[in-house]
Subunit: 230 residues, 2 copies
DNA sequence: TTCGAAACGGATTGGTCGCTCCGGTTGTTG
DNA sequence: CAACAACCGGAGCGACCAATCCGTTTCGAA
């Protein structure tokens, strides 16, 4: 999973073309940075005009670097994705399989809590995006290892599946959203409370049989694809 | 119910004025009905034009009856609210305090699952709406009774508070939303799975202390008010 | 049956959005 | 330094939206 390279060489290519001019590279960077903050603060409904303004460039420049608002958003999310990958790696490196699982969920929730764009995009968007499906598959494979191990150790309920994690995170996102999101007066950790409840809910102790079986990976992706096609 | 008739007599008032004309009353009804279906199917972002079309009236007519899209939405939600109130009453009438609590949560979740408008509006909107705050206060009082009783019976964790329920429902809403919402191919009960996990999470058995204390009622309303003012 | 008030409907307004287009500017190369 | 391709900015386009306005139709009381 550690193949982030390909990505930020000083000569940045679009296809196979020649390196970008110096000012172009600088502007691209500014746009990306502005988009990160703006999306984080206002969610994915923030307007591209606002982003361009904050970046100090014209909208034309913005769209030359990112042909679509959606492309820009995806580029913005990369950081969070990498963060999650790191968290999963850390988790798998630990002996304590419960702590590892809890750590991953906590990190994901933290990202959602501080970045409204991530919160809006994750779930539907994340799994629907064709350009991300390969990466998603890898991520799911790691998550499966994590969950299987925890189950083998008897620290989570028997019927928990890796495919549940995205949904549990969406659930947490729901709580986070109404808890009061980023940049608001008195930024709150209230979501941690509900993460705590969910964590207790996936523990084995006194687990009640779940009424519906877990989604398969296919269901997960298919479902999200159709959801984003609105 | 028939002699005071402040409410749904055949002569429906707006303020203190004279009764509506027959066609007006019929159209108002049609609009409300169309709005219910459309909001349920498409969420609160559905356009008023679409609603008017489905109702077979002009937008002018729609706006005469409901001065604002928001007013129309609120009128639409009434049904769900009533349903919740009934569920709470039923719950309080039962001896089994755990079953009662679970019942209320289930009913709320069912409403969210079949009505995307409700799903979108609940949480932020619901508690922020000034015109609903009185009703919300009543509802919270009933919920408090429910939770206190369950706690006294030892069937839920000690640190659960009534104020947590709205957030837990929002959480469930998050899962429901990404599960695939209403009117979609293969309408799913997957959310029941996560409701199950949350229910286990609020049980006392092996409960881990929660990292953040519950929100006060003031925090709850204040937070939502600011959220909706975007 | 008459007639005025009430209700209707949809063209229109004012606004926002993502995105395009093109005349002007700037970096780079020889 | 010259000269051209690459790059910039922002006015403008088309689409959508909630909400308004006003000429026309319909109801129902007299």
């Amino acid at each position: 999973m550690s193949s982030p390279a390909v990505h930020s060489g000083p000569g940045e290519h679009d296809h196979e073309s020649r390196p970008l001019r110096a000012d172009a590279r600088r502007n691209r960077e500014r746009v990306l940075e502005a988009a990160s903050t703006v999306f984080a603060e206002e969610g994915i409904e923030a307007s591209v005009a606002e982003i361009a303004r904050r970046a100090g460039v014209g909208v034309g420049t913005l769209f030359r670097h990112f042909p679509t608002k959606h492309d820009l958003l995806l580029a913005t999310l990369e950081v969070g994705f990498d963060e999650i990958v790191v968290a999963v790696d850390e988790a798998l490196a630990t002996d304590d399989s419960w702590a590892g699982l809890a750590h991953v969920l906590t990190v994901c929730a933290e990202i959602q809590a501080r970045d409204r764009g991530f919160l809006d995009a994750v779930g539907p968007e994340l799994f629907a995006e064709p350009s991300l499906q390969l990466r998603n598959a890898e991520r799911m494979e790691l998550l499966t290892r994590l969950v299987e191990r925890a189950r083998a150790d008897g620290v989570v309920r028997d019927d928990l599946r890796a495919e549940d994690l995205p949904f549990l995170l969406s659930a947490l996102g729901g709580a986070t959203r109404t808890c009061g999101n980023t940049q608001q007066a008195a930024p709150t950790d209230l979501w941690r409370r509900y993460l705590g409840i969910i964590l207790d809910g996936i523990r084995p102790s006194g687990a009640t049989p779940l009424p519906v079986s877990a989604p398969t990976l296919e269901q997960l992706t298919a479902r999200c694809r159709s959801a984003s096609g609105s």
